[in-house]
């Protein structure tokens, strides 16, 4: 009862000054609205850019790399154990490109609870041939269904679908850059020269456009079995194993584990793509800095209006105190006023933000980089609306706090006697 009368007084004060109150609320509206627009657009863009690399990159990539032996034979000999051995011109040893015991590793990973999926890959060099022209390139054999499930493979396919690759043993999804250079279209056969010197002809079932031109000029995809045949190897031949985890943060420790257990090369996504985190965090920083600045400006507006109101309302405050309202009650009245401005302005700001974000999200945005994206990316995550609402309440509370405290300290005797 006593609380509601304070709220009623606050409401009446604001209602009696509709113009000033709405201007103060508009300040908050613009602050919160801008925050929502900025953060939705920025994080949407972040998601898109990160997705360019991170979504299609395995969290852990296991591979075999040509490298010199870490231990030279002489070091194993007892005879020279205590001498200083100097070996010049160490060369890498020739070893198989295939990962040894790949079936064992894959099965072990598949039964690990942290792992979302494991896919083997076969990567082989080829030359794309068109008449007398030979173009250097890479043919990658994949498990189409799993790649689509785990790495959104489908998103980068234009003019075709990954399923056609599955159903066609001689199919190939050709990098769009290669297709343009060799002026090939869907349904054409493209001859490829294999590392062993033979030639295979694969039928184009679609094109691959990653948005990274250098990759699109080199890479093509086919079935894992087809790739093994092109490489002239058996079905045990696997050059890479991609692992996707449920939690990307576990990539680093798990990579160390794999390297340690299998004596093999592996790299985790964070080590391979450290620059993306930096970009993301800086964009977030800018978004928050701009929004907080706007809200502080809005806060000054509220501070100003409440301060003026308190000077106008000296008599009212004195009467309220004389009739038994305590300093705390008076303070609450003005804090309620600030919060009311914050709630009304903030809610409108959230709506404004949502509306403008929606308009942005339906605006056309065509880019070479991502063929499947047709409009601007906007993130409609509800969390940002919650943060915006909390921001609005906190800033208006602090903007109201100082004037309210001043009002609570007004000495009624001075005013009641003074006139």
């Amino acid at each position: 009862m006593a609380k509601s009368i304070l709220f009623e007084i606050a409401k009446t004060h604001l209602w009696a000054r509709k113009k000033q109150s709405s201007i103060a609320a508009l300040g908050v509206t613009f602050g919160i609205g801008t925050f929502i627009i900025l953060v939705s657009f920025m994080t949407g863009l972040n998601g898109l850019l990160d997705g360019l690399i991170l979504n299609r990159t395995p969290h852990i990539r296991i591979y075999n790399e040509v490298q010199p032996s870490k231990e030279q034979p002489i070091e194993l000999s007892d005879q020279y154990k205590n001498s200083m051995n100097v070996i010049h011109s160490i060369k890498p040893k020739k070893s198989q490109a295939s990962i040894l015991n790949n079936k064992g590793i894959i099965n072990a990973l598949k039964s690990d609870k942290r792992v979302k999926g494991v896919t083997p890959q076969v990567s082989t060099r080829v030359f794309y041939q068109s008449g007398s022209v030979l173009l250097n390139g890479n043919l990658i054999g994949i498990d189409v269904i799993e790649e689509t499930r785990l790495y959104n493979f489908k998103q980068y396919i234009v003019n075709g679908s990954p399923l056609e690759l599955k159903s066609n043993d001689n199919g190939v999804i050709l990098g769009i850059g290669i297709a343009q250079k060799l002026s090939l279209k869907k349904g054409d056969y493209v001859p490829m020269v294999t590392p062993s010197g033979g030639t295979v002809r694969l039928k184009i079932v679609g094109f691959f456009q990653s948005g990274l031109a250098d990759i699109d000029k080199l890479q093509s995809y086919t079935n894992i079995k087809t790739a093994q045949k092109v490489a002239g190897e058996t079905s045990n031949y696997v050059t890479d194993i991609s692992v996707k985890l449920f939690d990307i943060e576990k990539a680093k420790p798990m990579t160390d584990e794999i390297v340690h257990n299998n004596h093999i090369n592996a790299v985790d996504i964070k080590t391979a793509n450290a620059q993306f985190e930096t970009g993301t965090s800086i964009r977030n920083l800018i978004t928050y800095a701009v929004s907080i600045t706007l809200l502080i400006v809005a806060g000054f507006g509220i501070y100003n209006i409440l301060n003026m109101m308190i000077y106008e309302k000296m008599n009212d405050i004195a009467i309220l105190k004389a009739t038994g309202f305590s300093g705390g009650d008076v303070m609450r009245i003005f804090i309620y006023e600030a919060l009311l401005i914050g709630i009304v302005g903030g809610s409108l700001g959230l709506l404004l933000g949502l509306g403008v974000s929606y308009l942005i999200s339906i605006s056309p945005f065509e880019t070479q980089a991502i063929p499947t994206v047709k409009t601007f990316p906007v993130n409609f995550d509800g969390l940002y609306y919650v943060i915006g609402a909390i921001f609005a309440l906190i800033t208006t509370f602090f903007a109201g706090f100082l004037p309210a405290r001043k009002a609570s300290k007004i000495d009624p005797v001075e005013i009641l006697r003074g006139q």
Binding site: M1, A2, S4, I5, I9, T12, H13, W15, A16, N315, D316, A318, I319, L320, K321, A322, T323, G324, F325, S326, G327, G328, D329, D411, P412, V413, L416, R417, Q419
Partner: protein, 225 residues
């Protein structure tokens, strides 16, 4: 019977700009149902005394009691509760909250007290306004009624919580003689019919002469009571 108000040895100094003693060893008592006026020239300390009794001014030495409760030394919040429940105020300038209706102004202290439902409070407020013969103005905004009417609304507001005492700081000082008489008659009616206690500061000798008791002050001292 215990006195309603008891003041013993109250002293007060103003420190700014120079140290002046405005109240010197004030002691007095007031019984329940009395209609007392405090008289004196400007600057004699009568208003200062009233504001100390009202609990709004706490910068003094000595002791005051209301209904045997010692008020000196209580916290501002405790004093606000006592003001709300036990003391009604009428000022020289008809201080109403201009953005609220007459009825809401009267209801305000009772809503703050929060002992009754809104309906009961509204009913009581209309009763008080009827008593003061201005119930017909109840729904008007407080800023839209005349000075004499405002003062009657202020009295109704002072009565809403049925306080132990009503205090007035020159309640007729800003009214024409007709309205001043009206307000006096209301005070008289309140003491006669409802046994309300009244403590009114005034410099109008005619007003004071008609009260039960006159306390006269000069230079911060009580010269007759």
């Amino acid at each position: 019977m215990n006195p309603l108000i008891k003041v013993s040895n109250v002293n007060k100094h103003f420190h700014d700009p120079v140290d002046i003693q405005v109240l010197k060893n004030i002691s007095l008592e007031m019984e329940k149902g009395e209609f007392v006026s405090i008289m004196g020239k400007s600057g004699c300390g009568k208003s200062t005394l009233l504001y100390i009794l009202s609990t709004m001014d706490t910068d003094y030495t000595g002791e005051i009691f209301l209904n045997n409760e010692r008020l000196s030394g209580l916290t501002p919040n405790q004093l606000a509760v006592i003001r709300n429940e036990h003391i009604g105020f009428v000022f020289q300038f008809h201080y109403l909250l201009p953005e609220f209706s007459v009825l809401e102004n009267v209801m305000m202290p009772a809503l703050k007290l929060g002992r009754k439902t809104r309906e009961e409070i509204e009913h009581n407020a209309i009763e008080k306004l009827k008593l003061l013969d201005i119930a017909d103005q109840a729904l008007k905004m407080a800023s839209r009624i005349s000075g004499g009417q405002k003062q009657r609304v202020a009295i109704a507001r002072a009565l809403i919580n049925n306080p132990s005492i009503i205090m007035g700081d020159e309640p007729t000082g800003n009214l024409d003689s007709k309205n001043a008489l009206l307000v006096f008659d209301i005070f008289k009616q309140l003491t006669n019919e409802f046994n309300t206690s009244l403590l009114i500061v005034t410099h109008d000798p005619d007003f004071a002469a008609k009260t039960d008791r006159i306390i006269e002050m000069a230079d911060g001292e009580i010269i007759s009571k």
